[in-house]
């Protein structure tokens, strides 16, 4: 009986310390400390989900695919290998006199030459700056190397035309469907007829 009376406050203090410890540990676990530019402390509360799943690059969602129609090849020109497979590749920068004479490069022509984008050895592929070979149907990756801002907008559907369903499957167009890759400025068009002026009706 006497021992119990003595033990009671002891137990109470032990319990109190334990509770304090619990509170302290849990509070620290879901908080992170940041400092803003002026050196002020910012405490950010993290949700349970974030604590459980740290960000890992291998978990990052792969970029979604972009359904595009067939690239707008000139009649009978693709695959390129049907002619080029029998030729010896010539990487020399020169004026073309026999074939492809209709192509006038007007796209940073000072810095560029055919084989910067067309792969020298396997002509049915395009070539990224990294040396990676891509199909003609993925040519947006090639254009996106320089035109990153347009590529970003194109992916979300703000640059370029998208058709299909606004709340369903969407059809993209490749850059080259609207822009000639060798001369990319959009060409002017003949406008459709203007509206009738009041009183012009045939009625």
């Amino acid at each position: 009986m006497k021992t119990l009376i003595l033990a009671r406050p002891l137990l109470l203090t032990v319990a109190l310390v334990f509770v304090q410890f619990l509170v302290a540990t849990t509070c620290h676990a879901d908080r992170e400390k940041f400092f803003d530019s002026s050196g002020k402390l910012i405490v950010v509360e993290k949700s349970a989900a974030e604590l459980l799943r740290p960000y890992e690059i291998k978990n990052r969602k792969s970029e979604k695919t972009f359904p595009v129609p067939r690239p707008p090849f000139s009649e009978g020109i693709f695959p390129c290998s049907q002619c080029h497979s029998g030729m010896t590749p010539n990487p020399q920068r020169r004026v073309l006199t026999d074939y492809h004479t209709e192509i006038v490069l007007h796209h940073a022509e000072g810095q560029r030459w055919c084989t910067d984008c067309h792969n020298l050895l396997d002509r049915d592929k395009l070539r990224l700056v990294s040396g990676e070979l891509i199909d003609f149907s993925e040519s947006y990756l090639l254009c996106g190397q320089c035109h990153g801002d347009k590529f970003r907008d194109w992916k979300v559907g703000v640059h370029g035309k998208r058709t299909g369903d606004w709340n369903g499957d969407k059809q993209y167009l490749l850059c080259v469907h609207c822009h000639n890759p060798h001369d990319p400025k959009f060409k002017s068009l003949k406008p459709m007829p203007p509206p009738q002026r009041p009183g012009e009706a045939k009625h």
């Binding site: 703000v158 369903d165 606004w166 709340n167 509206p195 009706a201």
Partner: protein, 308 residues
């Protein structure tokens, strides 16, 4: 005045009233459709407001119009009344840095929405503006017709119904024949419209158009997929306007509006303003955006933007 005279006058007065009564009744009888007139004339005349139709009445009404139009145009015409989708508020984006003023959208819209060819009705009007003056309506020209567009020193601004959140056209309609639906589209019940054209005077965008004559719509060019509140054939004497292609966009999956689909430069964007993943939200959040005649507080859901 003698009593006799008084009496005479009274008799005369009475007979004149009788005569007028008879005349009115006669004219009324003539005006009523005869026995051989189809039942649809009666039904057209006594049709209720679109929003007061019961489910059954709506079904019957749609069937009546389908029959009527199919006969008129010699092909199977469908008239839908698809209601708004929950959680959808339509928004439209137009990239002024891309538009070249080719007017493909104007005629794409005419073909899709069964506008009258003569007298001509266009729901979209493309303005040519001076780059130096900016959006200055005093110098806008919409009859431009050069050999090639775009012309140097100009930019182009297509204007159509802005689907205002506070539509002045709806406010002035004396018979409530036009209203804003839950998905933000301002629609007209062509069978309730009395043709007073108050809405045309109230609209600051010139987006409403009146059928001054019986619309001429060649049967070959008539789009048979129609919506009651959208592109069904209109009678003479009613007002019509852009509905964001209600017959397409209310479906699930729903196609893009015709003007968006035909634009050769991809200047036109369409989507759900309530969906944070939509392209319309992306452009509002990331691009320089303006709304037309913002000072009028009509709160359009049509956003002009510059992508570059």
């Amino acid at each position: 005045m003698s009593d006799v005279h008084k009496c005479d006058k009274h008799v005369l007065h009475k007979s004149r009233r009788k005569f007028l009564k008879g005349l009115a009744a006669g004219i009324g009888l003539i005006a009523l459709p005869g026995k051989d007139a189809s039942a649809s004339v009666w039904e057209d005349f006594f049709q209720k407001h679109f929003r007061e139709l019961s489910k059954d009445e709506l079904r019957k009404t749609l069937a009546r119009f389908e029959k009527q139009y199919s006969k008129q145009f010699g092909k199977q015409v469908t008239v839908k009344a698809t209601p708004p989708l929950a959680g959808v508020l339509y928004g439209y984006g137009l990239d002024l840095s891309r538009c070249i003023g080719c007017r493909r959208c104007v005629y794409g819209c005419v073909g899709e929405n069964n506008q009258s060819r003569d007298p001509q009705i266009h729901w979209i009007r493309v303005m040519q503006l001076d780059k130096e003056k900016g959006v200055d309506l005093a110098h806008a020209e919409h009859y431009y017709n050069p050999a090639q567009v775009p012309e140097k020193g100009h930019f182009y601004m297509p204007v159509q119904c802005q689907q205002c959140e506070k539509p002045p056209c709806v406010k002035v309609c004396p018979v409530q024949a036009t209203w804003k639906e839950n998905d933000g589209i301002v629609v007209v019940d062509y069978n309730w419209c009395i043709g007073c054209r108050y809405c045309m005077a109230a609209c600051p965008y010139g987006a409403r158009h009146f059928n001054w004559a019986k619309p001429a719509l060649p049967a070959k060019e008539m789009n048979p997929v129609t919506h009651y509140l959208g592109n069904r054939p209109r009678p003479k004497g009613v007002v019509e306007k852009c509905t964001f292609c209600i017959q397409r966009t209310r479906e699930q999956p729903g196609r893009y509006p015709a003007c968006e689909e035909i634009c050769p430069v991809g200047a036109r964007k369409f989507g759900n303003l309530l969906d944070p993943e939509s392209e319309i939200r992306y452009l509002i959040e990331n691009k320089r955006v303006f709304i037309f005649k913002e000072d009028l507080n009509t709160q359009p859901k049509f956003y002009y933007f510059y992508a570059t």
